[in-house]
Subunit: 188 residues, 2 copies
């Protein structure tokens, strides 16, 4: 299960609570792994009882107390072991592609709005990633030189940027194709 490993990496980069982790999974880690808070809390609990994590109760003022998790020795070993074993190259699960092929048996033009919506989402993500790249890695406020951890975070972010750029370009291609088919008239 890679969620465990994603959590280990995130907590090594910075210890934090379940709530904070959930927010990171909406941001940086979320570029390549997603998880809901329910799942995170459940896995944190299990990892803690497995001895992979340490917990510390942190009383807070002006907001509810929290539990701060950090990586324990066995957690670090588990991560290291995983890093050294091979993993399967990822496989896609792309609903939109299923829809596009399915549109041949419906009205292709009806997909236009859906594709446009996805185009907007991916354009927004791209803009967001690019802003983050400038803020954290290439802009005037960024550390120079970057340490190894930052270099690795940057190359992963470049992957996210490449993915979004590619996706936006492909969605342009899809839109052009749908328009072409629409101009030629619908079919069954």
């Amino acid at each position: 299960m890679a969620l465990e490993h994603a959590i280990l990496v995130s907590l090594l980069e910075q210890p934090g609570s379940g709530y904070e982790l959930a927010r990171r999974f909406e941001r940086s880690i979320g570029y390549f792994w997603t998880a809901t808070h329910q799942q995170i809390y459940r896995v944190l609990k299990r990892m803690e009882s497995d001895g992979l994590l340490d917990v510390r109760d942190v009383p807070q003022e002006r907001r509810p107390d929290k539990k701060e998790y950090s990586v324990a020795g066995p957690g670090r070993s588990a991560l290291s072991a995983w890093l050294h074993e091979p993993i399967e190259p990822e496989s896609l699960r792309h609903d939109l592609a299923v829809k596009i092929r399915g549109a041949a048996f419906d009205d292709p033009a009806a997909l236009l709005h859906e594709v446009e919506r996805h185009h907007r989402v991916h354009s927004d993500r791209l803009a967001h990633y690019l802003a983050g790249e400038i803020r954290d890695f290439t802009g005037p406020g960024a550390p120079v030189p970057l340490d190894a951890g930052q270099e690795l975070q940057h190359v992963v972010l470049r992957g996210g940027i490449a993915y979004e750029r590619m996706t936006v370009a492909w969605l342009d291609d899809v839109l052009a194709t749908l328009h072409r088919l629409g101009a030629a008239g619908p079919r069954a």
Copy 2:
């Protein structure tokens, strides 16, 4: 559940048995959706009992008999309904990216072989997709002009090609980064 919809699309394109579907999921449909034969058989059974599919026993010579599935009226309606409702833009689950960020807490150079292996897999997929594109859509044996279904299959394949090309380029970037960090020496 999009596996149902992927099966509906695939069976509309061409009726077939669970075994044949499983093989398609290793090929064309597999470019953007994966499924094992166990899962396919189970879902086929449920879809048939839900009235979405028709089954026909096909006795065969020289090999075991098979059950050929095809899409029934309600199946077509279900697909159409799904095509008209919005779906969430897909989110990634990219283990390798987790590993790369995790490498900051281990030896980055140890990831080289893993990344090279993924690079080979994606290069092979790219070559395979490109060969398929020539065979089915752009080569001398391909139909001219393409009908709408073929145009849509082609644009989805172009998406797969773009994805693999982008991934290979990114993995080159990752390799260069790892080499750079390796030359600078490992760290904790």
